[in-house]
């Protein structure tokens, strides 16, 4: 290494440990050694001047406090997001479960809903009290393609209606107490009978013949008798037990 290169290096990297650099320092008699010592003194002074700035005594604690605060804030945010996601998931599950339940019930759940909607739209039928005779009933059943095999007792209203997309015979049976609506839905037979309670109505769905009987009332006390009466009407006295 030559003096020029040594001094360039010395000015840029005074503390260099490069072996060629140090060898030149030790071997040169043209003042490079003295220059090196001067540079070292200056570097010490420079280092001392830069290090002389005192950091606030509680800086580390303040940094840790800021970090802990930030961390907790982020954790709280993540927790809130997690909670929101969990709530959303729960709502989605509830909605999906409800939808699945409706679908799983096939015509049952849906049919019940449509039957209630229909009865509400024809609420006047529930106010009827005069018995309906054979002459009125038979055409109603015939219109829906059902041969009337027995006379449903205590019928006070009879009409051929559409319950949602389905054709149905709409009867109101009244013995002593509250009226019971009997909707015989033609052409749609549910798999299993079930009772339900929806929108303030008590109900029962029963597979019957080639269709489904839906009973609606304020209570279910008269359902058994109404079911028997409708089974006799649709299936006949001998077949009613077979449903």
């Amino acid at each position: 290494m030559e003096c020029l290169e040594f001094r360039r290096r010395l000015a840029a990297e005074p503390t260099s440990r490069d072996i060629e650099f140090l060898r030149h320092r030790d071997a040169c008699h043209a003042g490079c050694t003295e220059s090196w010592w001067r540079a070292q003194r200056f570097e010490r002074q420079l280092g001392r001047a830069l290090q002389s700035v005192e950091a606030p005594s509680d800086l580390a604690e303040r940094v840790l406090l800021a970090q802990a605060t930030s961390l907790r804030s982020r954790m709280r945010r993540h927790w809130q997001i997690g909670l929101a996601l969990a709530a959303s998931l729960l709502v989605a599950l509830v909605v999906a479960g409800y939808a699945w339940n409706l679908r799983a019930g096939d015509n049952g759940g849906v049919l019940a809903g449509m039957a209630i909607a229909h009865v509400r739209s024809e609420a006047y039928s529930l106010t009827m009290t005069q018995p309906v005779g054979d002459a009125q009933l038979r055409p109603v059943f015939a219109k829906r393609g059902v041969a009337l095999r027995g006379m449903p007792v205590h019928a006070v209203f009879a009409a051929d209606c559409r319950v949602g997309p389905y054709r149905a015979v709409h009867l109101v049976l009244r013995e002593n107490g509250d009226p019971i609506t009997a909707l015989y839905v033609v052409g749609h037979r549910i798999a299993d009978a079930r009772d339900f309670h929806r929108a303030g109505w008590r109900g029962r769905e029963v597979p019957m013949g080639g269709g489904t009987l839906v009973l609606l009332g304020n209570g279910s006390a008269g359902f058994a008798a109404a079911e028997r009466a409708m089974a006799e009407a649709v299936l006949g006295p001998a077949q009613r037990a077979l449903g």
Binding site: A11, E13, A49, L50, A55, V63
Partner: protein, 179 residues
């Protein structure tokens, strides 16, 4: 306390002071310097898993701080040529030790350091306070090592010139062959 938090605590206690001094000389403002340390440490916490070697911790932190400062510098150009009151307040009177002559000399040197243009002061701080090599500084600043050597040469030359108050250093610089 988990291991990650313990590592971070140790990092803070070991390097907060060095970071503060580095930040201080970069920006010349005690409040901003502390903010820089806080921001640096928060970034370090998030990226702590990328630190695998304890020996690399200090340069790693200084690099984060320098970049943080550069981002801030882009937003707000600071007047770095004036030694403000905050700087004077932060440097103890006896910082240079018991020798009055030395103390006076160190005070002048500190003032001279703050008068350096950032392009000279930054590599000098990285070298002296951070322990970075010329190659490492070059990589960090995105320039060639030769350019860094020139900046370091000029930084020291300007300091000597400011301290001596004469223009002789200019001639020496040329004589040393630096561009």
């Amino acid at each position: 306390m988990n291991l990650r938090q313990r590592q971070f605590d140790a990092l803070v206690h070991a390097h907060a002071g060095d970071l503060y001094r580095f930040a201080y000389w970069l920006c010349g403002d005690p409040s901003r310097a502390e903010d820089l340390v806080q921001e640096t440490m928060l970034r370090a916490w998030r990226a702590l898993d990328s630190l695998h070697d304890a020996a690399a911790a200090k340069p790693w932190l200084l690099t984060i701080l320098r970049r943080e400062h550069a981002r801030g510098f882009e937003r707000k150009s600071l007047d770095l040529t004036i030694l403000d009151d905050g700087l004077k307040d932060s440097i103890p009177d006896d910082a240079a030790g018991a020798d009055p002559e030395q103390a006076g000399s160190d005070a002048e040197l500190r003032e001279a350091i703050m008068k350096l243009e950032p392009k000279y002061r930054e590599p000098l701080l990285m070298q002296v306070l951070g322990g970075f090599s010329c190659e490492e500084i070059a990589a960090e600043l995105g320039v060639k090592p030769g350019a860094v050597m020139t900046q370091l040469f000029r930084a020291r030359h300007k300091l000597r010139k400011l301290l001596s108050g004469d223009a002789a250093a200019d001639n020496k610089e040329t004589a040393h062959g630096m561009p």
